[in-house]
C-alpha cells in the first residue's frame, strides 16, 4: 500500500518544482510523442541523457524513481518479450515456425524497454514535483478550449481533484478494514489463488459501501453550500506562466531538433 509512488508528491523547490503545471504537462505529453522519433542508438542515448538530467534536476533520489517502475516491470517485460518473439528481420538466432528470435527482434525489444522506462520516469517526474491540486488546475486550464465544444471541463477537473483528495482516506480505510477482517481470522496472501480472491470480498464490499456513503455526504455538503454545476466560478489559485516555462518548452523543441538530426534516415517524415 505504501509502495505506491505514482501520484505521490515530494515537496521541494527545485527548478522543476517551480515550473508551471501546464508547461510540465505539455512537456511530458510532448516527450511521449517525440519518443517515437527515436530509431537508432544515438537518438535513444540522447533521450536517456535528457531523462536522466530531468530526473537529476527534480532533486528526488533515483531510488524513488526505480521504485516507481517496479510495479510495472512485469507488464514492461511482457511487452518486450512479445516484441522479441514476433519481430523478424536481420540475423535469425532461433526459429520455431512463426516464433523467431532475430537480430531486429532483440534491438526492437531493447528500444521498447527503453521507451517504457523513460515514459514512466518522465511522468513520475511530473507527478512527484507537482502537487495533485496544481496538476488538476493545470489539466483544467489546458482543457479549457474544449469548453467551446460543450465539454464539461470544470466538472471533469472537480471530479479529478475530489478523487485525488480521497485517495489517502481510501488507503486509511482499506487498512482499517483489513485489520478488522484479519482480527476475524482472514489470512492475506496465503493459500490458492481462488482462496486469495475470496479474501478480497470482505475488504472491497465495506469499502464500496463507505465510498458510496461518503459520496452522498460530500454531495450534500456541496449542495448546502450552494454548489451548482455549470456556474461560472473564479479560482483561488492562479497559475502564472513564467520565463522558465517558455524556456522549458524551447528546450523540448531543441530536443526534437536533436532527435531529427540524429535519426537514422535524417528526415522526420518516415
Amino acid at each position: 500500500m505504501n509502495k505506491l509512488i505514482l501520484g505521490r508528491y515530494f515537496p521541494g523547490d527545485s527548478w522543476i518544482h517551480q515550473l508551471d503545471p501546464r508547461s510540465k504537462l505539455l512537456a511530458c505529453i510532448y516527450f511521449i510523442f517525440v519518443l517515437f522519433l527515436a530509431n537508432n542508438w544515438q537518438t535513444y542515448a540522447l533521450l536517456w541523457i535528457f531523462t536522466l538530467v530531468v530526473m537529476y534536476l527534480s532533486g528526488v533520489s533515483f531510488k524513488t524513481y526505480l521504485r516507481g517502475v517496479r510495479p510495472l516491470i512485469w507488464l514492461i517485460l511482457f511487452t518486450v518479450f512479445l516484441q522479441v518473439l514476433f519481430t523478424s528481420g536481420g540475423t535469425i538466432y532461433v526459429d520455431w515456425g512463426p516464433i523467431t528470435i532475430s537480430e531486429f527482434g532483440i534491438t526492437n525489444g531493447i528500444y521498447i524497454f527503453c521507451r517504457f522506462v523513460m515514459i514512466v520516469f518522465v511522468s513520475t517526474v511530473v507527478t512527484l514535483t507537482t502537487k495533485p491540486i496544481d496538476l488538476t488546475d493545470g489539466i483544467n486550464s489546458l482543457l479549457r478550449p474544449l469548453r467551446a465544444l460543450k465539454v464539461p471541463v470544470d466538472e471533469f477537473a472537480l471530479m479529478l481533484s475530489i478523487s485525488l483528495r480521497f485517495i489517502p482516506n481510501l488507503l486509511d480505510e482499506t487498512q482499517k478494514v483489513m485489520d478488522a477482517q484479519a482480527a476475524r481470522g482472514t489470512e492475506f496472501g496465503e493459500g490458492s489463488l481462488v482462496k486469495q480472491m475470496k479474501t478480497l470480498v470482505p475488504i472491497f464490499l465495506p469499502l464500496f459501501v463507505s465510498s458510496l456513503n461518503r459520496a452522498e455526504e460530500l454531495a450534500n455538503a456541496m449542495e448546502v453550500r450552494g454548489y451548482q454545476s455549470g456556474e461560472k466560478r473564479s479560482t483561488f489559485r492562479r497559475l502564472t506562466w513564467q520565463k522558465r516555462d517558455t524556456l522549458c518548452l524551447l528546450f523540448m523543441l531543441a530536443l526534437t531538433a536533436g532527435l531529427a538530426f540524429l535519426r537514422a534516415d535524417g528526415s522526420i517524415l518516415h
Binding site: N2, D179, R184, E187
Partner: protein, 287 residues
C-alpha cells in the same frame, strides 16, 4: 478459560517503506490480570489503539514481547501462530459496523468462526446463540446487514466477534456514535458477558462515567507510554494523579467534592457513581 496479558517492555512503530514513524508504543510494561475489566484512557494519539492492536498481533512489537496466556508475540512471530492468538483475543474496532460485508447477518456472523475452522453447521448454531446474547431477534439472521439500523449493525458486528468465542475481549469505544440508550445497552451487555463468563475485558474509552461504572482497573496512556495502572477507586481518590494526567472526574465525585466544600459535611467514602453517592447519603443520615 480466561487468561493474563503481559506486556514485557514492548516498543512498536508503524513502518512505511523506509520511513519509520516515531514510536507509538514506548517500553510498555503492563500485566492485565485474568478476568479483570480494564479501561484504557488517554488523549487522542496517546497510543491506545496501538496498544489494543498489539494484543492482537496486528501491530508487531519492535522490541520486547507480549504474552497472551501461553502464547507469546515476539518481533519475528510467524503468521500461523498469530492466527491462534487472534482466535483468543476478540477485537472490536471503533465503528465495527464498517466491517460488515456479507449478504445476510447470519453469514457475516459465521465469517469469523469459519475462518478459525469451525464447521458450517456449528457456526450457524453459534450465530443464533450470540445474536441472542447481543439482544437481537432471530428473524434478523436472514436480513441484509445493510438494511439494519445503526445500533443493530453495531450489535451484529460485535456478535461477529463474540462468535469467535474469544477468551479476551478487546473493545475500542464500542459506544461511540450511538444514542445514549443504545450506548448504555451495549455497555451493559459487555459488562454482563464479563461477569457471567469471567472474560478478560479491555475497553478503550473517553468517558469517565463508563470507567467508574464498569471497569475495575484503569490504564492511563500518554505519548505511547503507560503512565498509570491501578484500581479505579485508587486512581479517582488521588487528586494529584488526576491533575497530573488531566483526567476528568466523574459527575458523582464532582458533586461530592462540591457538596463537601459547601456544607462541610464529609461523606464516609469516595463516591464514583450515583449509587455510591446515594448509599453515602443514607449512611450519614441525610436521606
Amino acid at each position: 478459560m480466561a487468561m493474563e496479558v503481559i506486556f514485557d517492555n514492548v516498543s512498536a512503530d508503524y513502518q512505511l517503506g523506509p520511513i519509520r514513524s516515531p514510536l507509538v508504543l514506548h517500553s510498555v510494561d503492563v500485566t492485565i490480570k485474568s478476568g479483570s475489566y480494564t479501561a484504557v484512557v488517554g488523549y487522542t494519539g496517546a497510543g491506545k489503539s496501538s496498544f489494543l492492536k498489539a494484543m492482537n498481533g496486528l501491530l508487531l512489537p519492535k522490541e520486547g514481547q507480549i504474552s497472551i496466556g501461553t502464547s507469546v508475540i515476539k518481533p519475528d512471530k510467524n503468521k500461523k501462530a498469530l492466527k491462534s492468538i487472534r482466535k483468543r483475543v476478540g477485537m472490536v474496532f471503533q465503528f465495527p459496523e464498517s466491517q460488515l460485508f456479507a449478504e445476510t447477518v447470519e453469514k457475516d456472523i459465521c465469517f469469523g468462526p469459519i475462518n478459525f475452522g469451525v464447521p458450517k453447521t456449528e457456526a450457524k448454531e453459534i450465530a443464533k446463540q450470540v445474536l441472542e446474547q447481543v439482544g437481537l431477534q432471530q428473524d434478523i439472521l436472514k436480513k441484509s446487514p445493510f438494511s439494519l439500523s445503526g445500533g443493530q449493525k453495531r450489535r451484529v458486528a460485535i456478535a461477529g466477534i463474540l462468535a469467535i468465542k474469544p477468551d479476551i475481549l478487546v473493545l475500542d469505544e464500542p459506544g461511540a456514535g450511538l444514542d445514549p440508550n443504545g450506548r448504555k445497552e451495549i455497555m451493559d451487555l459487555i459488562s454482563s458477558w464479563h461477569r457471567d463468563r469471567g472474560m478478560t475485558t479491555v475497553l478503550v474509552t473517553h468517558d469517565m462515567e463508563d470507567v467508574v461504572t464498569y471497569a475495575d482497573r484503569v490504564i492511563v496512556m500518554e505519548k505511547g507510554q503507560v503512565v498509570l495502572h491501578d484500581d479505579v477507586e485508587k486512581v479517582f481518590s488521588n487528586h494529584e494523579q488526576l491533575e497530573k494526567w488531566h483526567l476528568d472526574v466523574p459527575d458523582a465525585r464532582r458533586f461530592q467534592l462540591n457538596f463537601e466544600k459547601k456544607t462541610g459535611i464529609l461523606l464516609p467514602k469516595v463516591c464514583l457513581t450515583i449509587d455510591d453517592l446515594a448509599d453515602a447519603f443514607i449512611e450519614v443520615g441525610l436521606a
